[in-house]
């Protein structure tokens, strides 16, 4: 017997697995998952359906899952304990949303920024994108410099959130109006 709490986007699923029995939020299903090729391809099978699912497990324990071409993120927490989601822990950090070149940094240490302010410009695949802050706050540290080649997920800038409002994630905006 095992219990898993799974977050997919805003949805929460409590999943109990016991031999051939599988309960999702209390409802019974028949599913099995088979790995097909060691490259992330799996088949999720129920009595009348074979669904292809690509699973990539990330370093931080979350999963990138692709079903019918649609990408989703899932986070699994063992047991039904009430824990915070990993993704809620990134407040006050500006993370690189893609691999690319830092072409401009519009803030310096000590600057105060508003939520949505452009703080960096990054270039990839011949396109320049504005990277905005997801929170208001005071810039505490620059972890990158103009001309740096950074990876996806790299910490670029830390800020001290003046208020910790639950706002949008660091979605970048392309440079057009």
């Amino acid at each position: 017997m095992a219990d898993y709490r799974v977050y997919v986007g805003n949805r929460l699923f409590d999943i109990r697995i016991e031999k051939d029995l599988l309960l999702v939020n209390g409802d019974q299903y028949k599913f099995d998952l088979e790995s097909i090729n060691g490259n992330g391809l799996h088949i999720l099978r129920d009595p009348i359906r074979n669904v292809e699912a690509y699973l990539q497990s990330n370093k931080n324990g979350s999963y990138d899952i692709q079903i019918d071409g649609i990408h989703l993120s899932a986070e699994v927490v063992l047991g039904f304990q009430n824990q915070t989601k990993i993704s809620d822990k990134n407040k006050g950090l500006v993370i690189s949303p893609m691999a690319g070149l830092i072409v401009d940094i519009l803030v310096k240490k000590g600057d105060y920024v508003q939520e949505g302010d452009t703080i960096l410009i990054q270039e990839a695949m011949k396109m320049q994108m504005k990277i905005r802050s997801a929170n208001a706050g005071k810039i505490t540290k620059l972890h990158t410099a103009i001309g740096d080649q950074v990876n996806k997920g790299e910490l670029l800038i830390s800020l001290d959130a003046a208020e910790s409002l639950p706002t949008n994630p660091n979605d970048p905006q392309p440079m057009r109006k």
Partner: protein, 496 residues
């Protein structure tokens, strides 16, 4: 005969495919990061020409010429992008005694400058958009604005191409910033920051005509393509023929393209691009003096291999067919598979292709540079692959293309595959009610009920961890226990 392809990605492979069929041996060139790319393996020979940065490899004319010399190439095909429209490259290739598979350098110069292109088109009897025929300089800005321009206005690089170097200013307020951005981008992309202003045509459709000239006055036309579905002024979905065009309209643009080809004594493949406004009036925009990304839709409706005709012409200086040999049958639509995330406003994505299954079956063509194990870097264009569907009519072509896109399975990277399907499923697209602003207010519908989809994802993730735990030694179980869980939470997260 040995042909060096001065390009990479799907277009390099596309050209090599025809060469293989013609028994022409091929040479690939590659930059450091491309050393394992598919095009290097597809070619009979492959030469490294420099570092990853395009200016040190694919844009490096001396490196390319020295590769030609080393490998004893007899001809060069530039593909699209990079040096394809650079007259200096064409000239250098021809001066080295090699065959350049493309228009004459003079033709590239003429059409490379959007202002001389406008002038030439007007002289050939084509309609051009109103606007000054002068580049924009700081001191002329005020007078031009006073003259004949109203907002919104397009700020365009005279050296632009492929949608690069075009930006929209909606009001006087943002004009200065937009001009600066456009100059910067144009300089970065083309080494020339000259720009000009052009009125924005509302509800415009982008329609273009494929031509092939022998450089001695003979011009063939291969019907038109519509490319109105664009993001960031870059095409996303293209089709042939343009839907809902009357015979007269079709004849008009074909004849206009023919006239412009005649007037410039056009050599090789070229595309004459038009905007059709709400009054169904066609305005000349530009000529692309090269093979285009969307050429396969024309190939599918005509049955003609355009690259083959282009190569054949370059070697023999004469066309292999006459106009009456060219017939269009059915409809074809192309969708561009990009390493971009449409949910994040087309943010470039990178990663390794962990699993790949490409579409097949009746009426589907795939022009791809992908392979399982490929590492997608952020160094070049985001175009990975193209799926092209043919059907007896537009409706069938749409169904086929949807089917083809659904068959495309790319593990390890986000792409625009789902978004492309959402466009094809939309009512405006299906009824041909499209223009270049289509995507501005496009609201994609979800393809699978969110509840089903998220439940699948949740169950898959839970079973994956569950199976892993079952198969492991007891001491390894800790790897997902609550204690470890806490440690994960301290880690940096990609924030998406």
């Amino acid at each position: 005969m040995k042909l060096l392809i001065a390009n990479r990605g799907e277009i390099a492979i596309r050209i090599m495919r025809t060469c293989r069929e013609l028994d022409i041996s091929t040479v690939a060139v590659y930059s450091e990061v491309d050393r394992n790319s598919l095009h290097t393996r597809y070619a009979d020979e492959a030469i490294k020409i420099g570092l990853t940065k395009a200016s040190e490899s694919y844009l490096n004319i001396p490196a390319l010429l020295s590769a030609c010399k080393k490998i004893q190439a007899t001809a060069v095909h530039p593909g699209y992008g990079f040096l394809a429209e650079n007259p200096a490259f064409g000239k250098a290739v021809e001066e080295a005694g090699l065959v350049f598979i493309g228009p004459r350098p003079e033709t590239m110069s003429l059409f490379g400058n959007k202002l001389t292109a406008r002038k030439t088109a007007r002289e050939a009897g084509l309609l051009v958009l109103p606007g000054p025929d002068q580049p924009l300089s700081e001191h002329s800005l005020q007078s031009q604005l006073g003259d004949n321009l109203s907002f919104p206005v397009l700020v365009k690089a005279t050296a632009g191409g492929g949608g690069k170097g075009i930006r929209l200013a909606r009001s006087q307020d943002e004009l200065a910033e937009v001009i600066d951005l456009a100059r910067e981008e144009a300089f970065a992309a083309f080494g020339d920051g000259t720009i000009y202003l052009e009125p924005l045509v509302q509800k415009a459709r982008h329609i273009e005509v494929q031509i092939l000239g022998d450089g001695k006055g003979e011009i063939l036309t291969f019907g038109e393509r519509e490319c109105s579905i664009q993001r960031r002024h870059q095409k996303l979905i293209e089709e042939a023929p343009a839907s809902e065009l009357t015979q007269e309209e079709r004849a008009w643009i074909t004849s206009a393209a023919f006239q412009l080809g005649k007037k410039t004594n056009y050599r090789s493949l070229g595309t004459v691009e038009f905007l059709m406004d709400e009054n169904r009036q066609f305005y000349f925009i530009e000529v692309n003096p090269r093979i285009q990304v969307e050429h396969p839709v024309t190939e599918m409706v005509t049955g003609v291999d355009l690259i083959r005709e282009q190569i054949q012409l370059a070697f023999t200086s004469s066309l292999s067919m006459i106009q009456s040999d060219i017939h269009c049958q059915g409809a074809a639509i192309e969708a561009r598979i990009l390493a971009e995330d449409p949910e994040k406003d087309f943010l470039p994505t990178t990663g390794e292709i962990s699993y790949l299954k490409e579409p097949g079956g009746p009426g589907i063509r795939v022009d791809s540079s992908l392979y399982q194990g490929m590492k997608i870097s952020a160094d070049y264009d985001s175009l990975l692959s193209k799926v092209i569907a043919w059907g007896n009519d537009r409706k069938t072509a749409i169904s086929r293309l949807k089917r083809g896109l659904k068959e495309y399975h790319i593990g390890g990277l986000k792409t625009d595959l789902v978004f492309l399907t959402q466009i094809l499923e939309s009512h405006p697209y299906q009824t041909g009610n499209i223009d270049t602003t289509f995507l501005d207010d496009f609201e994609p519908k979800e393809l699978i009920p969110e509840e089903t989809l998220t439940r699948y994802a949740a169950v898959a993730a839970a079973l994956h961890i569950h199976n892993k735990r079952k198969s492991k030694e007891p001491q390894d179980l800790g790897d997902i226990n609550p204690w470890r869980q806490k440690a994960w939470q301290e880690q940096t997260n990609a924030g998406s």
